[in-house]
Structures are given as C-alpha cells and as structure tokens.
Amino acid sequence: MALLVVFVLGCVYTPTARDTGLPIFISLRTQLDILFEYCEYGLLATGMTLVILSGGIDLSVSSVLGFSATFFAILTIGYGWGVPSAIAAVMAAGIVAGLISGVLVARFRIQPFVATLAMMTAARGAAKLISGGIKVQPAAQPWYALTDDTPGFFRWMTTALPGIGVQPATVLFLVCILTMAVIVKRSGYGRQLYAIGGNEEAARLAGIPVRRVKLQTYALCAMFAALAGVVNACRQDIGDPEAGFTFELDAIAATVIGGTSLLGGRGGMMFTLIGVLIMAYINKILSLNAVAIDRRMIIQAAIIVVAVLIQRQEKG
C-alpha cells in the first residue's frame, strides 16, 4: 500500500525526456535502474532482517561491505586471483566476521549494538590495513597483477544482460532475498528465529539451540554484506576501503519501513523487499526532479514516517 502511494507519487512528479517527451519515471529502464541502484542496500537489508527478527541488530554490515569490496579488489586486481576463488574467499572472510560478532553476542552476552559496533570499527580498520590506505585499482601499486583494467567480471556484473535488460547484480539480490524469504517462512531455522526474537527465554526453555541459531544468523548477515561488497567493487570499478559508510542505517531503515519490528520476532523478508523498494523509489523521485538537498532531506524524512504509519496500519 505504502509502496503503491510512493509509486503513484513517482508517476505524477516525473520529469520528461527532452527529446521524446516521455515520462522518465515510468520507463522500464528507470524501474530496472532503481532496483540496480539499491541492490547493495537490498543485500544488506536481507541480512539485517534476519538479525532484527532474532531481536538483535548489526551495525557492522557497512564496514564488512567496505572490507569485502577492498578484499575482493585486492585479490583479483592485486594478486590476480580468479573471480570464483576470490568470491569464495571474500564470502569466507565475511562469514568469519559474522561468527566473531555472533560469538560476542551469543557466547559472551555482549549487547548486539555494542558487539557489532566493535566489529564495525574493526572491519573498517582491516579494510584500510589490507589496502595500505589507498583505493585498490589497477596499477595503484607497482606489484599489482593487473595494471590495465579490472577483470571483465566487474563490467559484466553491472551491465544489463542482453535481451532481459537486468543487471546480474540485481539478479543476485533478488535471488538472495527470495531464497531467504522462503527459508524464513518455511524452514525450522525460520521458526526458531521468530521464537528467539519473540521471547528468548521461552525459546531456550522450549529446547531451541539459541546460541547456535544466533551464530548462524550473524554469519548469514555478514555473508550477505560480503556479497554486497563484491557488488560494490564491481559497480565502483575499484576497491574503496571507505565504501559503504553509513549504509547500515539505510539497511535498518529499509527493514523497519517494511514493517519488521526492531524488538524482534515480528515481520518478514517480503516486507523488507517492499521497504527497500520504497526507499529506492523515494530517492529516485527526488533525484529525477533535482530537488535541492535541503528540502530533499526533509521530504525524505516525512515520506519515511508516512510510509511506516501506512505499513503499520496494514498489519492491523
């Protein structure tokens, strides 16, 4: 419903192309661009939804994204690794980061906000450390394997597939969020997640392995952040250690706008998809109209509040 309102807003206030006079917002190209532009936030929000459902929060996703983008770039551009092995290594590193957060939360009972705040700082530092403080791009260091151009995969990932018109990065995001939607809804893991988020004590007494589920959740969340990092490196064509700065807030916002409760145990993955789309639409509409940043921020805030109100009403 909120999504519909925002979409209609977009259709009403769309600028037109100066040659053909067609409204830009309604074109298929724009709609696909909107998804593409938000697929990193979408991947982060996918993981974030899992963590928030479990009653936690993960602030480290933005830094894990930055670290992964840098790590992926340095493996492929710096050391000349093949793309599949580099992706595997980046995902493994992401999972390790998530497991550390998970252990801090589940085993040492540090509050998720604090534990992931620590991981957020550490991962950003690690990104700067492995890159030597510079942006990783071909020939940035004399010893880099690639001196001319980034691997073709970078361009492939962010170029529309012929015929379908969708970028592989967008496909990756949609596959991830739809898979997780099914898992959260149908699997035992999903049910345990809701149970823990709803009432952790009750879940523990009911024999649910709370620690293990939490560990899995943080690991999954960081893994999605790592994938978002790969997408970011491809999109930017460099490995930027500063990448993803403050993205965690957008991921949390998208999750909450969708209707997942920050208290845990209520909400769902499809809500988050709607939340991501709402954020993406708002941004696109304001950007297309070249609304000045001062007004833009205020309008953005107002639309977010209204969207949350409408979403809440819907669930009764």
Partner: protein, 322 residues
C-alpha cells in the same frame, strides 16, 4: 490512525507538488513562449558532495556565471559523497537528454563509464576538479595541487628564513588532493632546514585538526609554523594554540589552502592565518566553456587553472596570482 496517515500523505504530496509544479511551470513558461528568441539550453551539474564548503562555492560560482546568460538553465544535483549516487545522476541526465553535463566526480574510475555513456549519447561532458580515466570527455578543468603545495612550502621557507619546525595537518590521505598537497609541500621545502616534526591525517576536518594540534603542542616546545591542507585545518590549529593559553598562537605562523571568501580569506584578513593559497573552483570557467561547446566552438581539452596567494597586505584586493 488512518486519518492521520492520509493527512500526512496529503501534506507530503503537496510539498512535493509545489516543488515539482513550480519547476515545470517555469520550464513551460520558457519553452512555450514564442517571444523568447533562441533556444534554451539545459545543463546538468552533478556535484559529488555539497557537504564541503569549497564545493558549495563551486556550485555558487556556476550559478553566478550562468545567471548572466538567460538562455542557460542549470539543474544541480548533489551526490552526497557517494560515487554510486553520482553514477545514477549522470545516467538520469542522459535519459533526460540535457544539452551538456558538468560533473565534479567523487572518484575517477567509478565515474568513467557513465561519462563515456553520456559522450556516446552525444552529450558533451565537462569534468571539473577531479579527473576521469582515459580521454573520453569534452573538456577537463582543474587546478594543480602539487603546484599549490609547492608554493606553500616555498612561502614558509622564505617566511621562516630557511629553518624551523613545521606541523603538517593533512587532508584525507586516501584522496589525491591530500597526497598531492603533501607531495608539493615536500618539494617546496626540499633543500631547506625546515623540518616536519609532526603530521597527522585530519581528513579535512577542523575538529580533527584541533585535536591533533593539541598533541603536537604538548609534544614540541618550539613550533614555528603549521601547514594545513585546507583552511579549516589551519584554523583548527590556531584555536588549539589559543586554547593552550601560552600565547603561542601569536608566534606560530599558520598557512592554509583553498582561500574561500568566507573562510580562508576571512581568516587572513582577521590575522588568524598568515597566508592562504587559492584552490580555484573552476565554476566560472566551466560555464564559459560550456557556452562555447554549445555554440559549436572548439575548446581546449585540458585546462589547468592557476592559484592566488592571499596575505594580509593583498587580501582586500583579491590576492596575488602565482
């Protein structure tokens, strides 16, 4: 509850409506009016981050220069320091079929492809301040940070009589301007007995510079000069020295870069900074060249802007060109 949501939505729609409505109206007014002779040109300007005063000044310079030409309309967009956002902005301008794009890129590589796409679509692109890779653009206008850093170095060598302790408060060192302002400065002081005794990456931010300067002050009893990679850093250092309460802000020479009218030049006039070196925005030059391009004239592919030094003696009269 439902009423509340609908009311709120109404408000938002009307706000957005005023915005968009006004725009279309005056665009229609211009396009639909046959008494207006000549074509109206639309220029899309994508600024990477209006959070920085220097970039706000650049937009202002462009706006001022464009005002003199009623046949120009400039659409300003701010990418809020995100290369991804800037990529989409360029693509939006292409979809909208503007007549010319001016871009001040956040980062070379990520913006290279969108700029190429715009050129392929037949839209000329002026690149301001930071470059893109390759040579698929119409015109690049930028200043030389290495030269500016070198001038600052030479100035301090002369001012201090060839020897002394210097604190260098650097900009973000993962960025090229930071690296180049450092490199130029080291070239400028090479061969003298000026020593950089303390340096720190302040990321262009005044509070960071103030904090780092406090550490420098507590570690070194004699500091002769501070070289800030931008004016706010030099100003922050001045404040730190004043807060120390030993009157050292009067003996230390503070030098900065950028020379914005309401920032560095003002500090020089107030006697806070000894000198500031202008880093020109190129906004005016961008509009001048845009007009030439739109009229089908040829322009130089790479334009390097000079710098000006502002000291107390010449700050009122617009500084001295170097």
């Amino acid at each position: 509850m439902r009423l509340c949501a609908i009311a709120a939505a109404g408000i938002v729609i009307s706000i957005a409506g005023c915005q968009a409505g006004k725009k279309t109206e005056d665009r229609l007014a211009h396009e639909g009016d046959p008494s207006k002779t000549g074509k109206k040109y639309v220029i899309g300007m994508s600024q990477c981050n209006r959070g920085e005063p220097w970039r706000v000044q650049m937009d202002k310079d462009i706006e001022e220069a464009a005002k003199a030409h009623p046949d120009l309309e400039v659409l300003f967009k701010d990418a809020q320091n995100k290369a991804e956002t800037q990529q989409s902005q360029v693509r939006e301008f292409v979809q909208q079929k503007v007549d010319l794009i001016i871009i001040s890129p956040k980062e070379a590589r990520p913006l290279t492809r969108p700029v190429e796409e715009a050129m392929d679509a037949g839209i000329p692109v002026i690149v301001l301040d930071r470059k893109v890779e390759g040579d698929k653009y119409t015109c690049f206008i930028g200043a030389d940070n290495v030269k500016i850093g070198r001038e600052a170095g030479k100035f301090l060598v002369e001012l201090l009589g060839g020897k002394g302790n210097v604190v260098e408060l650097k900009g973000l060192m993962t960025s090229t301007p930071g690296q180049e302002r450092h490199k130029g400065f080291m070239e400028g002081i090479a061969g003298s007995n000026l020593k950089v005794v303390f340096d720190a990456d302040c990321q262009w931010l005044e509070p960071n510079a103030q904090r780092e300067m406090k550490s420098a002050l507590s570690r070194f009893p004699t500091i002769d000069a501070v070289y800030g990679h931008n004016d706010p850093s030099a100003h922050g250092a001045y404040l730190a020295a004043r807060q120390e309460g030993k009157g050292r802000e009067k003996t230390i020479k503070f030098v900065g870069i950028d020379a914005l009218p309401h920032e560095g030049v003002r500090y020089v006039k107030d006697g806070i900074l000894t000198a500031t070196f202008q880093y020109p925005t190129g906004g005016q030059e961008a509009i001048e060249n845009a007009l030439k391009i739109l009229k089908g004239e040829k322009v130089e592919k790479n334009i390097t802007l000079g710098t000006r030094r502002f000291t107390k003696d010449n700050a009122e009269t617009g500084g001295e060109a170097l």
